[in-house]
Symmetry: none
Subunit: 542 residues, 2 copies
């Protein structure tokens, strides 16, 4: 560090370097580079609050000055955002070649952003300096030196992202190290080594980070992408080699294959390696927050996502159910509660009595003292799964089956007399083919005939059915289909094959999935639809 910067720092106590480990989220900047992901200013404000609840140390909010949306975000954040834990960081680039930092409008936007931390991106790969920046290696160093110093002089803390660092190090180690030294000497608090193209493997990251730490003495950070499927492992390797600043995105969002998943990286550090990097207990909110942010981005996380995915602690119990009951720790790598997730047992064709008993308990049916019902349900599940049903993906249908066996009669709120659906197309008229359904049923003491239209036979049936029972069961108005999946069960015989339909329904607060099977896709859909409405009414106290 040079003397001037040190002196500057000592006059600005609120910009003292944070001595602890940095957990730095870049969902709203680098994560938003993901194909198809677009965040409004309002989205960003919501996400920032969630990230703060999660307990991350730093939230990169965007690039003020580069587009009106990000400029507005920083203005509104200053006025509206009260963060409990996190510090908001503004992202931007070093000054343009051949200008002074003070004269660069983008640097001014960073200075005026209201963010106490600025993260500057700089080139550290010689070829990129020449080809993308079209300037000299020396001028690039000057750009870094000037911009860091300028922002430090204006009272901001500066982190510096070295773009394409690892590829740059391999192409020209001396220059890459010089970039790190220049940034640190100018007052950058952390120099972040970015695997921008994502091509690194963990052992390479280990070696390079260790060398950079030893050669420069700078405080280092890591920013990894998942192009080799190793973003998390690369982040851990960097931390083990001395990095004390970890960047990542919620749900692994990001360009191409995404950035390092922040929750997975942090959970590995805290729960596996005993390195406390977040407020105590913060990770217990991780699953809820990861899903809440997914609601905002409209990019649901993979069910298979480590730690927070809905399948992350789901077991096709079968053989091991009894052992799981005795010691669940033998079958899961951590206690799912530590990341706010749950163990789930899936009822599958391999299910034995033990797993059905466990599943029943989960749904509020204690079968421990009723071995006969338990045996009957187990047999029935096996028969049904043989016929093409699947209960592991259709909890609601399983609950209805269980309720029918335990209570002696299937849950039912109305009697269907008949239904019909017509789909018709007149090519000459050039119109889209609409579907029209008629349902005849008895509900609330009346015979009702209702007709519904829809963009397809199932939508039409859904509309007709809900219209028919709405007077007797007004709650049904809040139900709507949120997912519809079709699976052909035996593909050797085309459309005469068995068909399985899964329908997911939501009432705005919760959602549930039901299954139907038949030779006719419409019939299978109808079965799932009926079950969906029946389950919904049962839980709405009808």
């Amino acid at each position: 560090m040079n003397v001037q910067t040190n002196a500057q720092t000592s006059r600005q106590p609120d910009t003292q370097p944070d001595p602890s480990f940095h957990v730095y989220d870049t969902t709203m900047r680098d994560g938003a580079q993901q194909e198809g992901l677009n965040l409004s200013v309002a989205d960003k404000l919501v996400i920032a609050r969630h990230l703060d609840d999660l307990g991350v140390g730093y939230i990169e909010g965007g690039w003020p000055g580069s587009n009106p949306k990000d400029t507005t975000f920083f203005a509104r954040a200053r006025a509206e955002l009260e963060l409990k834990h996190a510090t908001l960081a503004a992202f931007g680039a070093t000054r343009r070649a051949g200008t002074a930092a003070a004269d660069d409008p983008l640097v001014a936007a960073l200075r005026d952003s209201g963010a106490s931390v600025v993260t500057l991106v700089a080139k550290s790969h010689d070829r990129h300096v020449e080809l993308a920046l079209r300037t000299t290696l020396e001028e690039n160093l000057a750009m870094i030196r000037d911009t860091v110093s300028y922002l430090r002089e204006h009272g901001q803390r500066v982190f510096l992202d070295c773009e394409h660092f690892f590829d740059g190090y391999r192409a020209n180690r001396a220059y890459a190290l010089e970039v790190v030294r220049t940034a640190a000497d100018a007052g950058a608090e952390v120099v972040v080594l970015c695997d921008t193209n994502g091509g690194m493997l963990p052992h390479w990251v280990s070696e390079i980070v260790a060398d950079v730490a030893e050669s420069t003495g700078a405080r280092l950070g890591i920013h990894a992408h998942n192009d080799t499927g190793c973003a998390v492992a690369n982040s851990l390797a960097a931390v083990a080699a001395g990095a004390t600043h970890l960047q990542g995105c919620i749900n692994g969002y990001g360009e191409r294959t995404g950035n390092a998943d922040l929750v997975t990286s942090v959970a590995n550090l805290e729960l596996k390696l005993g390195q406390k990097v977040m407020p105590a207990g913060a990770l217990r909110e991780a699953s809820r927050i990861a899903h809440a942010i997914a609601e905002v981005t409209n990019y649901p996380p993979s069910a298979r996502q480590p730690y927070t995915g809905v399948s992350a602690f789901a077991h096709k119990a079968g053989l091991h159910a009894s052992a799981i009951r005795v010691d669940p720790g033998l079958y899961q790598h951590i206690d799912p509660v530590d990341v706010g997730n749950d163990m789930r047992l899936l009822v599958s064709e391999m299910a034995g009595r033990a797993s059905i008993e466990l599943k029943g308990k989960e749904l509020g049916f204690d079968l421990t003292d009723d071995p006969e019902t338990l045996a009957r349900v187990t047999d029935l599940v096996k028969q049904r799964e043989q016929a093409g049903y699947t209960y592991e993906a259709a909890d609601a249908s399983f609950e209805l089956l269980l309720a029918a066996e335990v209570e002696g009669t299937p849950p039912s709120f109305f009697d269907v007399e008949s239904w019909r659906v017509i789909t018709e197309s007149h090519h000459a008229a050039g119109e889209e083919a609409p579907s029209e359904a008629t349902v005849k049923l008895h509900a609330g003491g009346h015979r009702i005939v209702a007709t519904g239209e829809g963009n397809g036979p199932v939508a039409a049936l859904d509309h007709a059915l809900r219209q028919a029972i709405e007077r007797a069961f007004p709650d049904v108005a809040s139900f709507h289909l949120t997912d519809y999946r079709v699976r052909i069960l035996d593909e050797s015989s085309g459309t005469d094959a068995g068909i399985r339909v899964l329908i997911e329904t939501s009432d705005g607060a919760t959602s549930w999935t039901t299954v139907g099977v038949g030779h006719n896709i419409v019939e299978a859909s109808w079965e799932a639809l009926l079950a969906s409405v029946t389950y919904g009414l049962r839980h709405h106290g009808a």
Copy 2:
């Protein structure tokens, strides 16, 4: 190895250990443990052919004897499956406690499976032996010794999966090592260390694999799960520490967070570390095959999936577009062609002319000297794929599109006036819901009205359509639907979502696939059906 086994081996030249590196796929066994993933026998036969095309060394087909489906699969595989590269492996467990291997029906099913390789799963964690197997540590070793020896004596090669190995090693290193030694001494060619709960991190895997290799001298394999987001890194760590057998699943399918993604692991080994483990050039088919298998499982891979994901080489070009054009290598970690993927600039969408030209040539349309048509077709394909069509899986529809552009008018043999399909159910009568379709069209100079029934709206439409044109085009009698697939394109909006239908038709000699897209499933099916008949007539010289 004990003497008896060695002697046995020398009399069985076809069971000699394979000296090279094993790439071992377990998609159809461990991958099928994924929540919601169910594979029919027909699915498995298709997947096995794809895996063989990909060039994997070993394909784990399932557990014969444990359920009728897997038993049937091995029987049909023996009769129908001709593999170019791969060896089929049967999965199963060591004999039950307290019986002889020869008396265990599940061991007999492995022996009789027709598979030259058997992969046995065994317990290697002391607590699991006691709690899940409910037997003694010594009996577990005897179960391993007996079962391996028995199958070796019957001429099969044996790999042994040590379940919960890493947790077991930490709990009781001596016993875990004893399991490895016992298996190797009994003649297991490879002992596979399984991170069954998926909780490992790469540096732990490195240390443990190195110790096991040194302590036992056994040939080792690795089987990793992704619960820490490190399945691929853990696999690479094991290989670096001496494992020469790598297990994984296509698209990272598997229970909970999935298994190690086989393509990502192999691509890292081959393209990053220069370790050739697959037939030369095989990875160039990886993206196509990963997506083709996803069509079978109906679980599309994440767009962000490393190497094969549709976004894996997609760039929001912006600032860097010109630099990317000058030197794309600066912006991607490998050449996407090496895994059969493409760089995409998101501003200009995919280019694709070269591949369309190539595909056209394959179908008999030479567009080399017709750049205008080529550009028009490329644009049209781009538009259509944007709307949800997929031509990769629907060659016949692509040919019709190409023919329309080259010949100036779409191939057509009849004019449809209208169609209608009714599906109806009378619950009181307890009957299955039949569908009835009426098609009105002009063919061979006549106006024809025909009605067909079927086990569903598409079957009914198919029957009505073929009946209507049969007099004018008798060949149509030989066409029949052999596959029908439905994919919901936007799952967030239930049955009002866009729907893609793929129909496969056969004339007994060859088969072809067509695609239809629409909001209404029946309408999308009709489009695919019409294309299917049109393509068939075109190739039958109508």
